[in-house]
Structure formats: structure tokens, C-alpha cells
């Protein structure tokens, strides 16, 4: 399996950094090499938050910085405008169609429109929108084993947050490709 480069973007509070971290934890549990790199500094306040994840199954990650990505997730319109160009030809772009009415402009990539917020509201917890999106990404591109995502979910949603585990597991499978 080759190196997989992933990029997550949205506004602060949409859980984009968490999505990247979940995949990074899952990669580590699966004995893969991985790096998680957040954007930091003033652009995080009010503007876009983003993170880059590089997964390398059998050798150390050469470079945590990317110039193109195999998989890009955009949770809001500014992120689509800014980062559509980052998807490598033939790569996947996941668009949060609940908040982004605009369509992607490229035809050399696979675009998946995921109404993440709408699905999350239907599930009963609007805050699971990022998990819905993470599930969509893993359905199309299974870059880490699903049981390792469960493992980090079980660690994250424990104690006071234990009641959130089931809904997040459901959210992971809530979107189906057409």
C-alpha cells in the first residue's frame, strides 16, 4: 500500500482537526507510520482550520507537508474554494453539501457530496457531522482498518462521554454512496 495523503479543512468547531486525529490514531493502532499536522496561528480564529495527515503503511513518513492530496475533505465554502486544487488528479474530494451549495469545478477528480450536517441532525446529534464525513471518507477510501477507528472512538467516548459512542458508531455508517 502506498503513502496516502489526506487533508481536512473547515471552520473552527467543525471538528476538522479531530477527523484527522482519529485517522492518525487508527493508523498508529494498525502499526502504520503517520503524521498529523495542524494549521496554527491567527488563521485558526474565525478563518479556516485545517490539518494534513500522511499515512505510510510500511516505511517512515518522508514528509509531513504535502503539495497534493489523495483525499480532501471540505466542510465549508471557503475551504472548497481554497483547497479544491489540492486534490491530485484521480483523487477524492468530499464536500459537505449541507453547508456548501456550490459544486466542485474540476472534472479530473472524484467528487462526493455528503450532506454531513443534515445526516447528523437526522441521527439526533448535529455534532456528529464530522463523524458522518469521516465515515464517508473511509467508505470510499478505506485508508485505515475500521476496527482501529472503533478503538480510538472507544477511548475517546468513554467516562462522561460514553453515551456518545453508539451514535458516533452509527454516524460512521450513516452515509451511503449513490
Amino acid at each position: 500500500m502506498a503513502t496516502n495523503k489526506l487533508f481536512f479543512a473547515g471552520s473552527g468547531g467543525q471538528g476538522v482537526l479531530t477527523m484527522g486525529q482519529m485517522i492518525t490514531y487508527a493508523a498508529m493502532y494498525a502499526d502504520m507510520n503517520a503524521t498529523w499536522l495542524p494549521s496554527y496561528g491567527p488563521e485558526m480564529r474565525g478563518g479556516t482550520a485545517n490539518c494534513t495527515v500522511v499515512i505510510s503503511p510500511d516505511k517512515p513518513v518522508s514528509c509531513p507537508l504535502i503539495y497534493e492530496a489523495d483525499n480532501v475533505v471540505v466542510m465549508n465554502l471557503p475551504s472548497l474554494t481554497k483547497f479544491e486544487s489540492l486534490v491530485k488528479p484521480g483523487g477524492n474530494l468530499f464536500v459537505n453539501s449541507s453547508l456548501i451549495e456550490q459544486k466542485a469545478s474540476r472534472d479530473d477528480i472524484n467528487v462526493y457530496y455528503v450532506p454531513a450536517n443534515d445526516i447528523a441532525i437526522e441521527l439526533g446529534n448535529p455534532r456528529t457531522a464530522n463523524t458522518v464525513m469521516l465515515g464517508a471518507l473511509l467508505t470510499v477510501a478505506p485508508v485505515v482498518p475500521e476496527e482501529k477507528i472503533y478503538k480510538i472512538m472507544e477511548k475517546t467516548f468513554s467516562g462522561r462521554k460514553a453515551h456518545l459512542l453508539d451514535i458516533n458508531k452509527t454516524a460512521l455508517h450513516a452515509w451511503k454512496p449513490e
Binding site: T24, M28, L37, P38, V61, S62, P64, L65, Y67, E68
Partner: protein, 358 residues
């Protein structure tokens, strides 16, 4: 050894220093390393140590001076402009031969500059901003694991040579998360151990002899003799502390020289160039002082150009030229101010450089 954990660079750095035996932290917050004082304020009191937020970076380095003079293992961290403020104290630490572990999570400069990653502290940390004849070993790891391993070892190196030791990471490494294997905690040196393991320290013991730890030597002949003693020590450090990693030098047409995050970028550029039929090699200095000049003796006759890839306007070029000694041209690929190149950008610029020198 336990299992791998996913840690943010800054937190992993702090944990590694505690496991390496440091129990005293003095610091003042500055981005992109503020997670370190935050982590230390939470962890050290639980682990038999002390955290003290200083009134300034100058305060922090001098608190570490006092701590080290008394035989304690002190740790200070900051970022570029904060390190600049600490450099007066670093000269004093070297003069008084006080061991302290220092971490610079560097950002863009000059001045207050930006909070994004930079490597433009190269001259600052290898040439020193403090006064007088002194040297501080500087290690520049390229991954969080390597940083952890070096920071774990650093307090011991500092104690062995009675000298500060610095680790240089860039802001990107501080903010990044990567799986790490944490080393087993070393036993701490208690105050009861200090008179035995550090007989020179001002430990307050009743051993009878007076310990003097100072950098003031008013008699010129006394000071000259002391500086000569320091330089005998630095000569040993030059032999023992040089660290470098070389890759693919045998048949490389172009050889990159890069440290820290830029070495990882250069590593990826090598792979991309190879796919285009261009053989590239890499010299990755891990110690910036002592600089691994000898690694350049391994350059093959096939190498047409050596390229420095760095986040500064070419501050490392001087050392590279001292290593290359005119065997081939030395060129620069750089970004600065907190901007980062992509590996693709390095590839394109390398191809242009090769067209010029071929």
C-alpha cells in the same frame, strides 16, 4: 518499552526531558512552544519536580543558572526571539560550566517575526549571540521520535561536559503529532546524590571544600587559562558529539544538505527526482555544532552540485562550503519568514539548478 503513543511534538519534547532526568523547568510562554510550559506546569509537580514561570526569558535562563550551579537538572525552552533574550545567560552558563538543557522551537525572524516555522536561527544557535569564546552543542532532530531520543539524552550530555546543550526544533515539529515510543524514565538525581555525582556544585553539603561556580575571572592570565580549558573540552565534544545521516551519496548527481523538517522534505524530493531519472543524495546534519564537515568527504565524483535546502536565506551555506571545499558548486533552495516550500517546488528548483551546472 511501552507501546507507541500519539503525541504533539511539544508535549513529547517535555515528556522526554522529564524522563531524561530533568526535574526543574523555568520558562516564559511564546508561540509555537507554549504547550511546553503548560505541560510542565501540570506534570512536574506530580513527578517530584518544580515548575516556575519566570518574569521574562532573561529571568528563566538565570533561574536555570542558579538551579544548575546548585547541581539540579534544569530545562529551559523558548522560541527564536525568546532564545535571543536567553543568550546572555548562555554565555554565562558556558563560562561558569553549568549544565542546562535548552530547547528552541524556532519561528520566522528577524525580530518578533512570525509564529510560523523557521530555521533562520542557524547562526544564532551555532555561532552564539552571547559574548566571549564559548560553544554549545546543538542537535537538530528531523522527527518527533528523534527529538524525544535526543532530549532524553541531553541532560546527561550537559552533565558530562558541564555545559549547556541545545536542541533545535522548528515550529512545525512542535505542533505536529506523530506516534512515538517513549523511553523508560531515568532515575532522578536527588539532592542527597549531588555532592557525590557533582562535587563541583554548590550543594550546601558539609564536605569541607568550598565550591565556586562563576564566570567572572578578573585576572587575564586566569581567564585565558580557563578559556583554554573550555576549548580542550570543546575539542572532546567535537569528536564525541558529531552526528550525521547520509543517504545515496555514492551515485548522486545532486546532493541535498538539510536538517530538521527540511530534511524530510528533501527526502521526499529525492524520491520524486528518482522517478524522473535523477539520482539525488542527502546529507542530514543532526549536530549543527559540531558540524559534520567530514560527511562531505563522502561526496562522489559523480556529484555535480550540492544544494542547501533550508528555511533561511542560506545561513547554513557557510558550513556547507567549508565541508565541500570547492569540490563542486553549492546552491541554495530556500523559503523564509515562516513560508514552507513543497517537495515539488524543491524538485523544480533542483532541475533548474542542474540545467545550470550540467
Amino acid at each position: 518499552m511501552g507501546e507507541k503513543v500519539l503525541m504533539k511534538g511539544n508535549e513529547a519534547f517535555a515528556e522526554a526531558v522529564i524522563r531524561g532526568g530533568c526535574r526543574f523547568y523555568f520558562g516564559y510562554p511564546i508561540t509555537p512552544q507554549s504547550e511546553i510550559p503548560e505541560f510542565m506546569s501540570r506534570e512536574l509537580p506530580k513527578r517530584g519536580g518544580k515548575f516556575l514561570q519566570a518574569e521574562s526569558e532573561l529571568g528563566a535562563v538565570n533561574m536555570a543558572y542558579g538551579c544548575g550551579a546548585a547541581g539540579g537538572r534544569g530545562f529551559i525552552s523558548s522560541s527564536s526571539p525568546g532564545i535571543a533574550l536567553m543568550q546572555e545567560g548562555m554565555s554565562f552558563l558556558c563560562g561558569a560550566e553549568v549544565p542546562v538543557t535548552i530547547l528552541n522551537v524556532s519561528r520566522g525572524g528577524p525580530g518578533i517575526g512570525s509564529i510560523q516555522p523557521g530555521q533562520a536561527d542557524y547562526n544564532q544557535v551555532t555561532r552564539g549571540g552571547g559574548n566571549g569564546d564559548y560553544k554549545i552543542p546543538v542537535f537538530a532532530p528531523a522527527s518527533i521520535q528523534e527529538a524525544v531520543d535526543i532530549l532524553y539524552e541531553a541532560p546527561e550530555i550537559a552533565d558530562k561536559f558541564r555545559n549547556p546543550v541545545m536542541v533545535l526544533a522548528d515550529g512545525l515539529m512542535g505542533q505536529m503529532m506523530e506516534p512515538v515510543l517513549l523511553p523508560e524514565p531515568k532515575p532522578e538525581i536527588t539532592s542527597a546524590d549531588i555532592p557525590k555525582v557533582k562535587p563541583w556544585a554548590i550543594s550546601g553539603s558539609e564536605k569541607g571544600e568550598r565550591s565556586v561556580v562563576k564566570s567572572l575571572r578578573l585576572q587575564p592570565e586566569v581567564l585565558e587559562a580557563h578559556v583554554s580549558h573550555l576549548f580542550e573540552k570543546y575539542a572532546v565534544m567535537e569528536k564525541e558529539l558529531e552526528r550525521v545521516e547520509c543517504e545515496g551519496l555514492e551515485d548522486a548527481e545532486v546532493v541535498f544538505v538539510a536538517f530538521g523538517t527540511m530534511a524530510r522534505l528533501a527526502r521526499e524530493a529525492m524520491e520524486l527526482l528518482e522517478a524522473d531519472g535523477i539520482k539525488a543524495g542527502l546529507i542530514r546534519p543532526i549536530s549543527l555544532w559540531p558540524y559534520p564537515y567530514s560527511a562531505f568527504e563522502k561526496l562522489s565524483g559523480k556529484t555535480k552540485v550540492v544544494v542547501s535546502v533550508e528555511l533561511s536565506m542560506g545561513q547554513m551555506m557557510q558550513d556547507i562550503k567549508l565541508g565541500v571545499l570547492g569540490r563542486c558548486p553549492v546552491k541554495l533552495i530556500c523559503r523564509t519568514g515562516g513560508m514552507l516550500p513543497t517537495s515539488l517546488e524543491v524538485v523544480e528548483k533542483t532541475k533548474k539548478i542542474l540545467e545550470e551546472v550540467r
